[in-house]
């Protein structure tokens, strides 16, 4: 499966999106902290986290004996760069064109 396939598969589940929302609200949580807000078994949460990690949406770091989970926004940024940023650029270009045109008219 390609990186993008893994990414969209990981995002396709509401439970996994909720985990991302929880990390977005508070980054660097342990499994136990995340389980408190999830209506599913600890095992279920572990499996969802493994899929998120595989898609590189969650990065884990050990702090002593605690395993902390962090939301990794880099793959989401790549989606943005690929499909959205180019439209944004067009809009900026249109605005700067408009500005130039209006200023030219004023100079005349």
């Amino acid at each position: 499966m390609s990186d993008m396939d893994l990414l969209f598969k990981a995002l396709a589940d509401p439970g996994r999106r909720k985990l991302l929302d929880l990390l977005h609200a508070e980054n660097g949580q342990t499994l136990s902290e995340l389980c408190e807000h999830m209506a599913m078994t600890r095992q279920g949460v572990t499996q969802h986290l493994a899929l998120l990690e595989e898609a590189n949406l969650v990065a884990v770091q050990w702090r002593g004996r605690e395993k902390l989970h962090f939301l990794n926004p880099v793959p989401l940024q790549q989606i943005y760069d690929r499909w959205i940023a180019k439209f944004e650029r067009g809009r900026l270009k249109a605005l700067s064109k408009l500005k130039r045109k209006l200023e030219e008219e004023r100079d005349e």
């Binding site: 508070e26 790549q78 940023a85």
Partner: protein, 151 residues
Amino acid sequence: MSEGAAYVYVTYIRTTQEKLWAYLTTPEFTREYWFGCTAESDFRAGSSWKLIYPDGKLADSGEILEADPPRRLVIRWRNEWKPENKAEGYTRCTMELEAADGAIKLTITHALEKPLPRSLMIEAVSGGWPKVLSNLKSVLETGAPALGKPY
């Protein structure tokens, strides 16, 4: 959270560890993906480090705490132009490079030295790193950045 505010960024880049290290530690190369910013340093432990905006203004400064090419780089890093961010003191940025399944895994951890749960500086870099890393990946894999400017 057991310590201060922190973020972790991970990206997998299809390149070599040596080339990625060179892109992280060569001032002329940082401009290609860091929206024109130059990271000025000789990247040896104990050396000073500066991040300079394209117009020459000083963005951030600090020193290299650890340099173990091409594996690990630790920068002590402070904002220099926003008083409220500067007041939070230094942050620590750790860059780790490791081979992973035909690609190089780059992990960046950026944390405030003071154990504060919220940090303006860490919030600020959290918007910047994903863009910079996404661009770095594009430059190394395709030869061109995804974005010419930050938006």
